[in-house]
Symmetry: C2
Subunit: 303 residues, 2 copies
């Protein structure tokens, strides 16, 4: 069964990612907190804070099920229904502003018409991964996209271009007229059809999840010893403000979690540790900071 398989996959992916990040950090470990959901299921939140390399990071899994919350019933326009949902969600905020922030999320959803959950009426995958640099290194952006493309291509040449574009469209701070970062993949409602069965999507999502460490870790290793000054750290904290704005104003996942009485601390672990808002902060003309903004205003093809 896909759901059992996926539940076990996200568990092992969480372990693998946390081990790799801990290894790189060298100082702090992920703390674990398991929680249960009223109505069925629960999750395991793993958070690292005040590390050498990672200022704050969360890698969460959850597997929840039961009667559909009212907000979802309204969304799908049904009066009754039961669901199963499993997913892994991570956001990593590094100390060094030369190391980008990263986000990834992979999830599977099933709907049923009966409480016993034997009559499945719908099923889909969603997720993606995207990178948010504070200073732009073109080769890092190219590497990140290449690793994601490599995960997509065996499942069809159409996938990377489509999911890359959807990522640029989704992670866009419309009120600022700029992207959250340099993109990656974003997909949702991947249902089985004549081209790809739901099992095919399962193996695509598994490949995408497995690509995460290959996409991100080499960038961390390459940039973690880059020198930086207080003005560059300041810039990182200003830009983290834009990350908060996206997550609290625009991100459907965050707002959905808040509306459906999700576990607040697990949902908001995505928020950066130290953030600044100055009035009308503008980078100097011709600076590296301005270069970043120019790219965010006009998303690029990296491959």
């Amino acid at each position: 069964m896909i759901k059992t398989e996926f539940a076990s996959y996200i568990k092992s992916l969480q372990n693998e990612i946390c081990s790799a990040l801990e290894g790189l950090d060298g100082k702090e470990k992920f703390l674990e907190e398991s929680w249960e959901r009223d109505g069925g299921g629960g999750g395991l939140t793993r958070v690292i804070e005040k590390g050498n390399v990672f200022e704050k990071g969360g890698v969460n899994i959850s597997e929840v099920h039961g009667e559909l919350p009212d907000a979802i019933k309204n969304h799908f326009n049904v009066t009754e229904g039961w669901f199963w949902a499993g997913g892994i969600s991570l956001v990593i905020h590094p100390v060094n502003p030369m190391v980008p922030t990263v986000h990834a999320n992979f999830r599977y959803f099933e709907l049923y018409e009966d409480e016993g959950m034997t009559q499945r009426t719908d099923a889909w995958f969603g997720g993606g991964a995207d990178l948010t640099p504070y200073y732009l290194f073109d080769e890092d952006a190219v590497h990140f996209h290449q690793m994601l493309k490599k995960a997509c291509d065996p499942h069809g040449d159409d996938l990377y271009p489509l999911f890359k574009q959807q990522c640029d469209e989704y992670f866009f701070n419309t009120h600022r007229g700029e992207s959250r970062g340099i993109g990656g993949l974003f997909f949702d409602y991947l249902r089985g059809d004549e081209n790809r069965s739901i099992s095919d999507w399962n193996s695509f999502v598994t490949d995408a999840g497995n690509a995460f460490l290959d996409a991100y870790l080499p960038i961390v290793k390459k940039r973690v010893n880059e020198p930086y000054n207080p003005a560059q750290k300041y810039w990182q904290e200003i830009r983290r403000g834009r990350y908060v704005e996206f997550n609290l104003i625009h991100d459907r996942g965050t707002l959905f979690g808040l509306k459906t009485n999700g576990r607040i601390e697990s949902i908001l672990m995505s928020l950066p540790p130290k953030v600044r808002w100055d009035y009308d902060f503008k980078p100097k003309a011709g600076s590296r900071e301005e270069q970043l903004i120019n790219v965010l205003k006009d998303p690029k093809e990296w491959i």
Copy 2:
């Protein structure tokens, strides 16, 4: 005409408030930025940053008019219409965590059925003032409420209890189950009726605006020299995160501004200068920090 009168009132109130705050700060002055709105009107944003007393503060006025933006047409379910809107909005974030953050806003809105704006179809006042302490001093909360009540009472005994309750209801972080602060006044859609004409509401709102400095300044003066330690500053930065959450997730004014292409930097000047999000930060049992949370979870009658 009320709108001319109100436009001139908010201008002088802005001057009065900025002068008083500058006098108290002693180091920094408010910088001014005037802006124009495509479609009619504009505003004057005044911001103070990195002062001795005030870490960041904005006192903005705007007077905008013209054809209704689509978002408002949809909201009021009309296909055409013209409007005039004037208001003053302020948020002050002090350096010292013993000094509370304060917000106030007073606004007047007119709707017309003709472009020449001679046929007025609706008019109302809105606004309020509320206090967000990081450490609770009961006498300060009582003083703040007393000054607001004093402004309300000449206009009817019903006003303070009603607007106090509306404030507790409005400035509530539902996803945290706690108030943003210790409340104050909140009112909206104050239209002329058999009890009070729109002119009566104009004089009420003017009195409320005039009460602001009396309500806030004595508290600043009393607390500005209280000693504080780094852990208390840390707590302030954590709590400022809740302020951001309220403004970006729940505040109708902010979301409305973002949807109607308002001037982003003027809208988001309300966000605090330095903010922290730690995973699941909990104050110690019996601490002053916990005392604050207990009051925020269960709004009090201060008078």
